[in-house]
Structure formats: structure tokens, C-alpha cells
Symmetry: D2
């Protein structure tokens, strides 16, 4: 089974975030991973474009019930109808997650992935402090500086 | 319609977190709010106990399909069967959220509530930095020092 | 823990369906059961009214994100934001289900409850044939003629 | 955007049901449709095999959180973690649904699809009576006799 890596980030991205996301998508596709994202614009669209330009497979998990809302680079659009709860399906289905930039929605995906014990790489994104509850301790996210480093974190060499 | 306030926090709480949560639950109940929580132990149980001791109504949104897993202070237990995605229903149904302490699960609730534009008070919890994406800007959480202050933030005087 | 019985039925009910639902709600409340329903009008509202008139507890699981959409007889409204998928939470959280009348939405609740192995009483509702797949066999719904009979099916005497 | 057709049916299928599902999957793929199914065995596996043998795209929406539980013919497996509520995502994301045989789980998908106003073809499956509530009336499922007829119903010629 091919690895499945989620790429999360804001629906309105800066030029730098979009370029980073595009590179992440391309590197993941060339490593043979399926890319899963939220299916809309910004970072979601840029990572999809990067993966498709590298002949990869990209799944978009849309918040609404209209598949037509997905960006044009998706291989498959799933219209969940769950609103922001679709972030949780993104997390359930991925092996690991890369966040590029990010607002509150992206942070919810980072937190849910860490809650589920999955590896999370943060690229140009949230500088999270340690969890405040000692009892809630556990592994944390890994800050990375480049798309290549992000992909190494989530897809370690065999 | 009575206000509905979510109280979020780790399932294994320190004595201090439990005491803060108990006070928050009691204050909310005395102000006439319905308390909604994740239904399990730790902060979830302590806020439920505080609310019930003040004759309040407490709804527990459980992750599994067994209502029996809920703590004994709940007025109503809803067995969602959604796993951690039940955090999203907590956020959908509340008017505002108070987080006491917190690990990754709590952070996901804080992030989803801010994403939805709801007021969030952080008591002894996450010291969140600003969102990294300018385009994702918007309102942030409000750090508070006491249970009374938390309740003032989410239930402003009429 | 008090039993939790779901009452399902169309949002636009005939006078007869509404009267049956009102009686079902009242009988369930007097037997000490928590009533859970979809929170809107028609059968959902009538069963809630019957339960509240008997000082019972009624939980409404709403499809949208607006608690204000719930009918005025609910003790608690949960705004799931899941659309029709909230029918699955109704089924997850109940011990057994009574359907009064019904359209396609009600049938989905009946089917999910039977899929989950829960007892289902049909009052003035779907006359379901046997499942077409022998391999999918299993228990079926129980057709009843009166509210009292419906309640006996889902809450057998101790 | 390519059409997206859901194929529903029991996880333990008779030889006849599996053969019908295989043919349905093949015909859908040759008509250019994306096939979406529940991702497990029986009818779900047979329709996936038929579609993949015709070089089609098949998405499996799994109930659990383990992508490895999907059958080996899926192009993409999404691990929803929603249990039977994943049936509702199947319905949200499809343009129309074909049910082959069926137990209670399949019936829930048929009912949710009709509730959402989508076209439903029943092949060797439920012989549903009319909805009991006049107020809940509306369009019903279409019984078909062959895989080709099922595909004509859900993918009318342009």
C-alpha cells in the first residue's frame, strides 16, 4: 500500500506558501505517496498542482456536498458534507501530515494528527509551545526549513 | 434559549486543573448556561461535577458508542461514535469555549472554535502564538487568570 | 443509567402521526427513559412535547449548526453540523428506536439501527420486506399497533 | 468533472451478487465514471474489481481508521473513522447510487440517497414499498433487471 501523506494549509496562501506547497506535493508524488488535502484553494490547490505535475495521485476531502468546489488538480474529490469536521477524516486517513503556513483550521489538523500519534512536519507554520498539561505530554511536531526536509520527516528513507 | 458553553481540557488533569474546571462548571451553571463537554474524565468530569453541584445541565459528547463510558455527573450522554471528530460537534454546538489546561485534543477544540469565529478563553492552558499566515489572520483566544474571568469572557453581563 | 430511546419520523407529520408521537414521548418519559430525536418539527416536535409534558428529558440532535433551529420542547439541543449524518449519531446513542410514520430519512435511521443490532419498533410506518441478501439476514423491525405496544417493545418490563 | 457513482451492497455477497457488482463496476468505468464504494468485501470488492479491470478509478470509503482494511482493487482508500456514518459520505459525494442485493447497511445508503434527492437503481435488491407518510412523499428508487440497465438509469446517454 502506498503511503498517504496529508498536506494542510490555509485556503488563501501567500506566494511563498503556495510555492512551498507546490514543491511538497511534487516531492511526495515522486516518492510514490498519495497526497490528501482539503481540496480547496491556497495551499490545498498548490500541493495538488505540484503532485499532479509529477503524475501523482491527489485526494481532496471537501467540506461541502458539492464536488465541483474542488480545485482542478485533484485526482479524486470526496464531498464529505461534514464542514470543518472533514479535517478529522484527513487526519484519520493519512500516515503523517505536513503543514505549510496555517491559520486556525490548519492548527486543528496539526493538533488532531498529534493527538492520534502521527508524525507532523511544520513548514513555515505554527511555532507551537509545549503542551501546558504535563499529563497531556507526548510527542510534538517537527519544525522543518525546506520542502525536502518536510518530506524526509514524513517519508523516512527505507 | 439558554447559552451553551463548552469546557475543554485533558482527560487526565492535575489537581489544579480539576479544581479550576470544577469552579468553571459551577459558575457557568449559576449563570444559567448549559455546559457541554467531552464526557470523559479529568477536566471533563470536574467541570461536569461543578455544574451538577450547582444544579446545572451538563451534556457529554462521547467519542465512542457506549453511553456508559460517560462520567457520572452528566445530565445527558450522547454516544457519537465519531472518535476525536466529536470535538467538532462540541465546537458546532457551543456559543463559546473555555479551555482548562490542555493537550493536543484540547488544542484541536480551541483551533476549531476560533476557526468558527467563536470566543475562546484559555485558563492555565496553551500560550498560542499568532497565526503564521497573515491571510489566515482573525481573532485569537483570550488568556484568563481565574475561573470567574473565564466566565466573564464567554458570558458577558447583559 | 436511564435508558435512551430514539423516536424517528418525518419533519412534516399528519395529525395522526403527531398524536402517536406525542403519546410515545409521554409514555417513554413516564417510564424514565431519555428521549432522543432529530430536534426539528413534525414527529420530532410531537414526541418532544409529549415527553416534556410528562417532565421528561428530551435531546434534539440537529442537522445544522444553529441550536435555535430546534423545536421549543427540547431539554437540550445539540447542533451537530453533520446534515443527515446526524441520523447515525441518533442511532449510536440510543438503546432502541421507535419510528412513527416515515419517509426516506426515517428509513435511514431504521436501517442504521437494525444494522447496529438495536431493537426497532415501527408504528404506522414502513412495511419493510425481508432483506434481499440471505447473507445479510438478521433480526428485523417489529411492527406495532399502538404507542403503548411500541414502548413495551423497546422498554421491556424488568 | 467525471460523474461519480456509488455502488452499495452487502460485505458478504452471493456469487450472483458479486458477478452483478463486477459487471456494474466494469460498465461504469467504461462509461468514464468514478466508482465510490464502502471499500470492504463482497459487493464492494466485486464492483471495485470490475472497475479496475476496466482501468477505472475506484474510491473506497472505509468505516475504520485503517486504510489497510480496504480491498486490493481500490485506487484510493479513505479511512474515515466514522463507522457506519461513512455511508452518509458515500451518499454526499455521489451523483447517483446503484444497490446490488443488500442488507440493513445497504438500505441505509439507499434511504439517505433518496432523502438527498439522488437517483437510485436497485439491482436484485430491496423491493421497497411506498413511503408511509404522504407528507414524506417524493421520488423513489428504480428497480432494474441487469447491470446495463442500472448504468443507464444512473448515467443517461447525453
Amino acid at each position: 500500500m502506498r503511503p498517504c501523506i496529508a498536506v494542510a494549509g490555509p485556503g488563501q496562501a501567500s506566494a511563498r506558501e503556495a510555492e512551498l506547497a507546490r514543491q511538497v506535493g511534487g516531492l511526495l508524488a515522486r516518492r510514490g505517496a498519495v497526497v490528501v488535502c482539503g481540496g480547496l484553494g491556497g495551499v490545498m490547490e498548490a500541493c495538488a498542482q505540484g503532485a499532479r505535475d509529477a503524475d501523482g495521485m491527489v485526494v481532496g476531502l471537501l467540506p461541502g456536498r458539492d464536488r465541483g468546489a474542488g480545485n482542478r488538480h485533484l485526482s479524486v474529490a470526496v464531498a464529505t458534507g461534514l464542514g470543518e469536521l472533514r479535517n478529522g477524516i484527513l487526519v484519520n486517513t493519512c500516515d503523517a501530515l505536513i503543514a505549510v503556513g496555517g491559520g486556525w483550521g490548519t492548527l486543528s489538523e496539526v493538533a488532531l494528527a498529534l493527538r492520534a500519534g502521527k508524525t507532523v512536519a511544520l513548514l513555515d507554520g505554527w511555532a507551537l509551545p509545549d503542551a501546558p498539561s504535563a499529563t497531556a505530554a507526548g510527542h510534538g511536531p517537527i519544525r522543518v526549513a525546506t520542502p525536502a526536509e518536510a518530506v524526509e520527516v514524513v517519508l523516512p528513507p527505507a
